[in-house]
């Protein structure tokens, strides 16, 4: 059986299949419209392995933070597959996924156009406090020791989530972090 990995949180479209706890096949597309390429990428992934949705035993979805629409597309599709095919879903934030590369307490940041999403993690990679966002201006003033990283290690993600609980599809939610106009 295979586990489907989905990450649409920002400009990189990233889908993969795990088999026997290791990445078996992955597809990365940069600079494409997620809304036009995402489902086709999943189709491509399954066709290349000659498998169907019935060969999936798990789904891992990156539920943010990042572009609201981007994150949402990944989460909606994960929910639909999980619900329809009765497949357990596990979620991980991109920041936590990055923290798995570091074995000490760390502060991880990922940039978007206007600023940076930040998460603090303990040595067990558990989030300390909440995720937050600093604009580029706020970042200049902040005297923080942020590790800016971009590339996750998929095998570490699988290993970390192996013993974690899955979330029922109805209740899988994106992490949004950034405030919207009406919240301010």
């Amino acid at each position: 059986m295979y586990t489907l990995f989905i990450d649409t949180h920002y400009t990189l479209l990233h889908v993969a299949l795990f088999k026997d706890e290791k990445v078996d096949l992955e597809i990365k597309k940069e600079g494409v419209k997620h809304s036009e390429c995402f489902i086709l990428s999943i189709q491509e992934l399954l066709e290349q392995k000659g498998i169907t949705f019935d060969d999936l035993s798990g789904i891992i979805v990156v539920n943010g933070p990042g572009s609201f629409t981007g994150v949402r597309i990944g989460v909606v599709v994960a929910k639909m597959i999980g619900y329809c095919k009765n497949i357990p879903i596990k979620v991980i934030s991109y920041l936590q996924a990055l923290s798995l590369k570091y074995n000490l307490e760390c502060m991880i940041g990922i940039r978007d156009k206007n600023g940076v999403f930040i998460g603090n993690f303990d040595q067990n990679h558990e989030l300390v406090g909440d995720y937050y966002y600093l604009s580029n201006q706020e970042l200049e003033k902040a005297n923080e020791n942020i590790i800016f990283d971009e590339v996750i290690n998929l095998d570490k993600v699988y290993e970390y989530l192996k013993d974690k609980k899955s979330i029922p599809p109805h209740f899988v939610k994106p992490i949004y972090v950034k405030k919207i106009e009406v919240d301010k």
Binding site: F53, M80, K173, I180, V182
Partner: protein, 333 residues
Amino acid sequence: MDTYILAIESSCDETSMAVVKNGSEVISLSITTQMDTHAKYGGVVPEIASRMHTEAITFVLEDCLEKANMKIEDMDAIAVTYAPGLTGSLMVGVEAAKILSLMYHKPLIAVNHLIGHIYANNLEEKLEFPLLALIVSGGHTELLVMEDDYQFKRLGETMDDAIGEAFDKVARVIGLPYPGGPNIEKLAKEGNSSYELPHPVMDDTYHFSYSGLKSAVINLVHNETQRGNPIRKEDLARTFQDVAIDELVRKVELAFKNTGIKRLVIAGGVSANQYLKSEMKKLCDKYEAELLIPRILYCTDNAAMIGAAAYPKYLKGEFSDYSLNVSSSADIV
């Protein structure tokens, strides 16, 4: 052989799914509305709408299939509203439809929301052609001729604001809560048409215009307030509604005279307005024409109408692939 279509609608603030048989029979319909949430903000907040669609989508699917007592495997196609509407909201429905289509090997049918409103009438009685279609909603005011399924010719449309938009803005100006349209109608019932407001485009074209009328209401409220005169809100609501709707009636009458068509379909959110219905009924009686307005449930946004509008496309084999994208605006013609 019967055809079952699972339809999805998420273009604004309702998440809806339906199973529709042969484009005309509603097997099940599930709708969750976010109206109470958006009422707090005085209008639909697009980002909040998208978030709520994301939370609701699998619940609505479950409810819809349970009510129908059917499985996705039993469907012949998956239909979805791809335009027009709020981009982020549409995207939730479209991605859900695409993955369903891929998982269950069912053809994907992209439906225009406005065409859905026209085909909502098919859920009541089979549409016969030719017909005149008047689309009146928050984003559209247009008059079309349909010679056959999906054969549209536009007679005219608004040159500025849509009629529903004007209702909402006027509601805000006179201090009525969201949703403005129904609240104007409620208040207008208690008032008289005693204010002077300019009639929009008084010519023999099929053009509509509502920004002038809206501005006239804003100016009137401003001037009266300056003078210290209280606004008779129910009278202003009544005057505005009468002028706005009489204009629709005049243009439809023109179309009856010029085309000789004896059938009128009214579609879109504003078709829920009772004054509009009664005036159009009078007009249709005068021209011995048939008036088609779906029941309220099918007038407001719902997925059953999307299933109805998808059926002619199913019969013609007009399917979409997985690169289907959403669009905030989309013309019928």
